[in-house]
């Protein structure tokens, strides 16, 4: 094995044909948003007109866009090597000036709710929204069928928190509120489980 182990990445398609979502290991970069500076190997591809803006960092992915007239099939292998070299030196990536680590947690939580966990909740007529992110702790609000649902505790703990922790290992806890003015369908039931989850 050489000095720097290769950073495991793979590319996934996005809705935009010229943009690929490069899935990277969680916690590699430590920020989200559009970076203001890139390491030399990746920056040179922008200078050569292979890649073009916008470049977007997500909690576990980097979105790269191919410049017009270029193709992923032809230039992709070059981009992959440059990205891996760039990920090997995460300090050279410059986060947006207003960035803070809570943005990463917020983005991760939004991703979870947009994905499979959100689908599950919506499929049951429930609604979960992120209301606050502070100091590695997420506060969510349950409404719709979730409000007053005795299983909501399980959903929050087993599905939401597990999925979120995978994207943000530094998570301290999830605080779940039920929206007070919500009018649950059917009789209101008391939750058997506490809806507040916090690591000891």
């Amino acid at each position: 094995m050489s000095a720097a182990p290769v950073v495991p990445v793979h590319a996934e398609a996005t809705e935009v044909a010229d943009t690929l979502r490069w899935v990277i290991p969680v916690g590699t970069l430590g920020f989200v948003g559009e970076p203001t500076a890139l390491p030399a190997p990746l920056q040179s591809l922008y200078d050569d007109g292979v890649l073009t803006a916008p470049t977007l960092v997500e909690p576990s992915a980097v979105l790269l866009r191919m410049a017009a007239g270029r193709s992923w099939r032809a230039d992709g292998p070059r981009v992959r090597r440059a990205l891996q070299a760039a990920l090997a030196e995460p300090r050279e990536w410059r986060a947006p000036s207003d960035a803070c680590t809570d943005d990463v947690l917020r983005a991760a939580a939004e991703e979870v709710l947009a994905g499979e966990v959100g689908d599950f909740v919506r499929g049951h007529g429930g609604v979960i929204e992120v209301v606050d992110v502070a100091a590695d702790e997420v506060t969510i609000e349950l409404s719709g069928a979730c409000a007053g649902c005795p299983a909501s505790g399980i959903t929050v703990q087993h599905r939401f928190e597990t999925a979120l922790r995978r994207r943000y290992p530094g998570l301290r806890g999830v605080v779940a509120h039920e929206r007070r003015d919500a009018s649950p369908r059917g009789p209101a039931l008391l939750s058997l489980l506490p809806t507040r989850h916090r690591d000891a």
Binding site: V6, P8, H10, A11, V23, P77
Partner: protein, 652 residues
């Protein structure tokens, strides 16, 4: 490792043409990934087989239709990688190669991945996707993944690999519907904008990333498999179980198959009598009754044994025991200076030497390849089975017992063991003769978890083997038998000439005996008598041995013809009552214990198979090695048969 007698008799069969008009899909996957199960489930066994140009890797092509749209499905050989090492892998690489001149490329690929060994399988998926052909993935064995507490987020996996992914377990019907619909829309499958990397240093990172994203939890070692393996792979208990299993194997072949064989014999005997009664022309009646029914029919009666052999072999293979047997024997092979891969080749030769010789292509060193090729024809192939059964049946009666077990099965087992030991000894000698120093490459063999063999796959293997056997009977053996019948019945003699020689022309049995004794074949048999005399063989056995150079089973057909001529009423019993016609043993039974033992040993060693010689020629690149193999095996066969004859003669 594939044990398939279907390959045995059909080298050089014409190639299957792909229909240019229909969309063609090809199945790609590693061995044991459920590829063939899927193929059979989709095409409903309407497969055509043939060979790829230039190589004897069998090609399977079938058709299926979805919503009246007919499509062609090709089952490519199982492969772990497109970086070709073996001929099987070369075929897959060639088929997927855009620039390959001889082969039409499929329109789209269906990749089967075993969900329990996903990390290894993804390497091949990366190579397949790099071809740029439309592809979809079928995940198999997901039930086993769950049972062994592994898991996979299939939706995330599908996003990560960028092509459609479906799970199909064991070709279940309710899962085939969605697959058929998916295959119908192959032209609309998404092709990843950027295929996965194929550089050796980049692939592990891609695999790691894909598996992490899809939350792949590696299945635990199958507890059942682990417990069974603790015994079966044990150096001592494993070997004990292996030999006990083999022993039972041959007992079963005799005890279960012989009643069925008896019925077939009765059937052919009855048909022979009917032919004699109803066919007026004497020559036609003799041709049909002695040549076809007595000769070819005599070989066909061994179908039950062949079928049973393949039932047992395919159960051993499908249950996962065959790999363990090879692993156990790897230690023995290492002592002989050969690697485990050589044992795989020898093991394949149990079905037929031809796939065994072709399996030597996995050996990297030419020396080891030649050494293994020289040993492979000694393994007891299925073609020897009829000869052994016939001769062992004459040697000891079915009721004879050695302790609690049947003596016939014990002798059969001994023949297999001696064959295997001789094969290894021969491989060892040839590898010593010109060993070049070089590191032994690591021997890699998959230990699949124990699985319950499905009746369908066992049935298919047996069907394939029986079809291959009957096809061989229909071509080589029938051809040789017809030639023999002509040689045994020419020249013709007038009634007057026979009367002059003191033959009662009204006794048909005496007439046919006289005809055969004065036939061209008898002349040939007598001409080679000096060679075989010391072994106790007379001209009739010599003719059988000469005929068996085309295929070993022909010996049975020849003896059947001779016996049918001498004892038309009971050809099955006829052989027992044949007597020596001249010389010091005149009047004594021909098939005495020393002669039978010598014959068995001769068949154990001699290279009597035209197809094997042909394959040796092709695989070694010249006539030198087949000539050496034929020569040395003939000398060994003669010497060993002579010694056996002496020893058994002294004992009895």
């Amino acid at each position: 490792m594939t044990l398939d007698a279907g390959h045995c008799a059909v080298p050089g069969e014409d190639r299957v043409g792909l229909d240019e008009q229909l969309p063609t899909l090809a199945l790609v996957g590693s061995p044991n990934s459920g590829k063939t199960t899927l193929f059979n489930a989709l095409t409903g066994l309407r497969a055509k087989t043939g060979n790829y140009p230039g190589v004897t890797v069998t090609r399977y092509v079938g058709r299926f239709s979805v919503d009246d749209q007919e499509m062609v499905l090709e089952d490519l050989p199982g492969t772990y990688s497109l970086a070709a090492i073996s001929p099987d892998e070369q075929v897959v690489a060639d088929v997927l190669d855009l620039d390959h001149p001889a082969l039409a490329r499929p329109d789209a690929l269906v990749v089967t991945l075993d969900a329990t060994t996903l990390r290894r399988s993804l390497n091949m998926l990366a190579q397949v996707l790099a071809t740029g052909l439309p592809a979809c993935v079928v995940l198999t064995f997901t039930d086993e993944l769950t049972r062994r507490q592994g898991s996979l987020d299939v939706a995330a996996f599908e996003r990560a690999v960028g092509v459609p992914v479906l799970t199909v377990t064991g070709g279940r019907r309710q899962e085939l519907g969605p697959l058929r619909d998916l295959l119908l829309g192959w032209s609309a499958w998404p092709v990843p904008a950027l295929p996965p990397p194929t550089e050796p240093d980049e692939v592990p990172g891609w695999i790691e990333s894909v598996l992490t994203t899809s939350d792949y939890v590696l299945p635990k070692v199958d507890e059942r498999t682990r417990r069974i393996d603790a015994v079966l792979l044990h150096p001592v208990w494993g070997s004990v179980v292996f030999f006990a299993a083999m022993f039972v194997f041959f007992q079963v072949i005799f005890t279960l198959a012989s009643p069925v064989q008896g019925w077939l014999e009765d059937l052919f005997g009855f048909l022979g009598t009917q032919v004699r009664v109803h066919v007026g022309n004497r020559y036609l009646a003799s041709f049909l009754a002695d040549g076809i029914l007595g000769g070819v029919g005599g070989v066909v009666t061994f179908l039950p044994q062949i079928a049973l052999l393949f039932v047992l072999i395919s159960i051993m293979e499908a249950s996962g025991y065959m790999s363990r047997a090879a692993f156990l024997m790897d230690r023995v092979m290492a002592k002989a200076g050969l690697e485990g891969r050589a044992f795989v080749a020898l093991l394949s030769s149990l079905a037929c030497a031809i796939p065994g010789i072709m399996a030597t292509r996995t050996l990297p060193s030419m020396r080891d390849r030649i050494a293994t090729m020289m040993g492979a024809p000694l393994m007891t192939c299925s073609a020897r089975l009829p000869v052994y059964v016939l001769l062992v049946g004459l040697l000891v009666s079915p009721s004879a017992r050695i302790g609690p077990v049947g003596a016939q099965g014990v002798i059969m087992f001994a023949l297999y063991v001696v064959g295997a030991l001789s094969a290894m000894a021969s491989a060892w000698v040839f590898s010593r003769l010109g060993r070049r120093s070089g590191p032994l490459l690591p021997f890699y063999m998959e230990m699949p978890p124990y699985r319950m063999p499905s009746a369908r796959s066992v049935g298919l293997a047996v069907w394939d083997a029986c079809r291959g056997f009957l096809r061989k009977v229909g071509k080589i053996i029938l051809g040789t038998t017809v030639v023999l019948w002509v040689l045994l019945n020419l020249p013709t003699h007038s009634d007057a000439a026979m009367s002059a020689a003191g033959v009662d022309v009204h006794d048909s049995s005496a007439v046919s005996s006289y005809t055969i004794d004065h036939s061209v074949a008898a002349g040939i048999g007598r001409a080679v008598e000096p060679i075989f005399e010391p072994l106790g063989f007379d001209w009739r056995i010599n003719v059988g041995i000469l005929a068996s150079l085309s295929a070993r089973e022909t010996f049975v057909a020849t003896m059947g013809q001779v016996a049918a001529a001498a004892h038309p009423d009971q050809p099955a019993q006829g052989l027992k009552h044949l007597t020596v016609q001249s010389g010091s043993r005149e009047g004594e039974p021909l098939f005495t214990a020393p002669v039978l033992a010598a014959l068995l040993v001769f068949f154990l060693y001699a290279l009597q198979c035209a197809s094997t010689i042909g394959v040796l020629r092709r695989e070694s690149g010249s006539w030198k090695w087949p000539a050496i193999a034929f020569g040395y095996l003939f000398v060994v066969a003669w010497v060993m048969a002579f010694l056996t004859q002496l020893v058994v003669g002294m004992l009895t």
